[in-house]
């Protein structure tokens, strides 16, 4: 029993890696810093992914306010430093790529100034990328907490509708649970057990979503403080 095919499993490199790469072909080196564990594909293929979209999260922080690399590093450390520490070098290399892609612009710097002397601001194209990222639900998987947390914080920083992002994600999770519940009816006992494992993990995410939704007021106060 494998995850049902469809738009979710082709969305983004992470999802494609998680569900499309044959068993045995997943190595730490082949997926960079992402650590994957794969299960027997005979009944169900899934991966535990520790992943966070650094690029878009940084873009989101810039969407909340322009700043120097130093300011971004401080913001990153404040919200996401425990989840995924980033060095200055990684921040500046990401900023260079965002600049190259037209998602941010450099302001008020003299020609030849190094990246640490440039002030960065988001472009309209960059804002569109952030908005789409926030309101595109994650593929329900064993652990997407870092990504969901990042989106929630960025949405609050941008005064966006964080309740809506959580509602969208909840609907996605429930849809996935329906798929798994239906699939269990045709599965053997091993398949049922593995599907139940996924169902419980997805349910844990849902409990987090519900609790976060009820705590948005408090979180909002902290984020905008």
């Amino acid at each position: 029993m494998s995850p049902s095919p469809g738009r979710h499993h082709l969305r983004g490199n992470r999802a494609a890696l998680a569900c499309a790469v044959p068993v045995g072909c997943l190595t730490t080196r082949s997926v960079g810093h992402i650590a994957l564990i794969d299960y027997t594909s005979r009944v169900y293929t899934q991966c535990i992914v520790v992943f966070m979209d650094t690029r878009t999260t940084l873009l989101g922080l810039l969407d909340a306010g322009s700043g120097y690399g130093y300011d971004l590093k401080n913001s990153w450390d404040r919200w996401f430093g425990d989840t995924k520490p980033l060095a200055y070098g990684q921040i500046y290399s990401t900023l260079a790529r965002l600049l190259r892609d037209g998602l941010i612009e450099a302001r008020g710097s003299s020609a030849g100034a190094g990246p640490d002397r440039k002030q960065y601001a988001i472009t309209p194209a960059g804002h569109d990328v952030v908005t789409k990222w926030i309101f595109t639900p994650e593929v329900p998987a064993d652990s997407i907490k870092a990504e969901l947390f990042a989106k929630t914080v960025i949405a609050l920083l941008l005064h966006d509708d964080a309740e809506r992002l959580l509602d969208l994600q909840r609907a996605e999770h429930l849809a996935r649970m329906r798929e798994l519940t239906r699939a269990k009816k045709q599965a053997d006992l091993a398949g049922v057990l593995l599907a139940d494992h996924s169902l419980f993990h997805i349910e844990a995410d849902l409990r987090w979503i519900d609790l976060t939704a009820s705590r948005l007021g408090e979180l909002r106060e902290q984020v905008v403080a």
Binding site: D167, A171, H173, L174, R178, I202, E203, D210
Partner: protein, 261 residues
Amino acid sequence: MTKQQATHSVCATGIVDADIRPGVIMSARGLEFWFGSTHALRGIDLDIRRDEMLAVMGPSGSGKSTLLHVLAGVLVPSAGSVHFDGRDITRLGEAARSTLRLREFGFVFQFGQLLPDLSAVDNVTLPLLMSGVSRKQAIVQAREILDGLGLGDQFDKLPAQMSGGQAQRVAVARALVTSPRILFADEPTGALDSLAAERTMEALTSAAKAAGAAVVIITHDPRTAAHADREVMVRDGRISSGTGLLVDDPAEDLDHPGSAL
């Protein structure tokens, strides 16, 4: 029929039902309910398809149980309508609504619903006896439905002699023995462990499907809701997300927060 066209029908009471879509067995529009100064329902619109299981989810105090009771004709809303089978049931008197609940609806609750001094078979015969079915025929039907739910060895057991899961399946049998059009379930797995909850939902889903009954299930448990065809979230007396209303074209998706006409 396009989304914009309305279907009008005039039933025996002379009430014209506007905009009832094909396949929809119950339509609620603009439901409001006040408990004293508490505004429990704040303008709910909801369609229920005749062959579906709809999960109504939401935090405690969100109004979901109140919604179920209004849909089932137990409570009369402060405003709004509930159309079922060509009638606005909110305009019926208590006696008529009571008959409707007995003949057209079935109910499963979280606990405390089986009469403790009656056996499984006798509990299941109750709604049939109240509908005028002979005791002999009622027992035959009760045994048949209990057997179909894997409770053939529990016929003469009292509720206290059964496990929680078995008792809930007897409750499901009782709710479906009259072949209701809609089964209303309020947290039917709330008091059960994971495996019993799973078995109860499997029994409820297959028995309801076999009986051709729509199911409206209130639950806070996502694994229970996962058995449903779709879900709506109720928050602060409103539908905050999910597909509340159904459209003619199944490909059209209304799945966005605060679905509206």
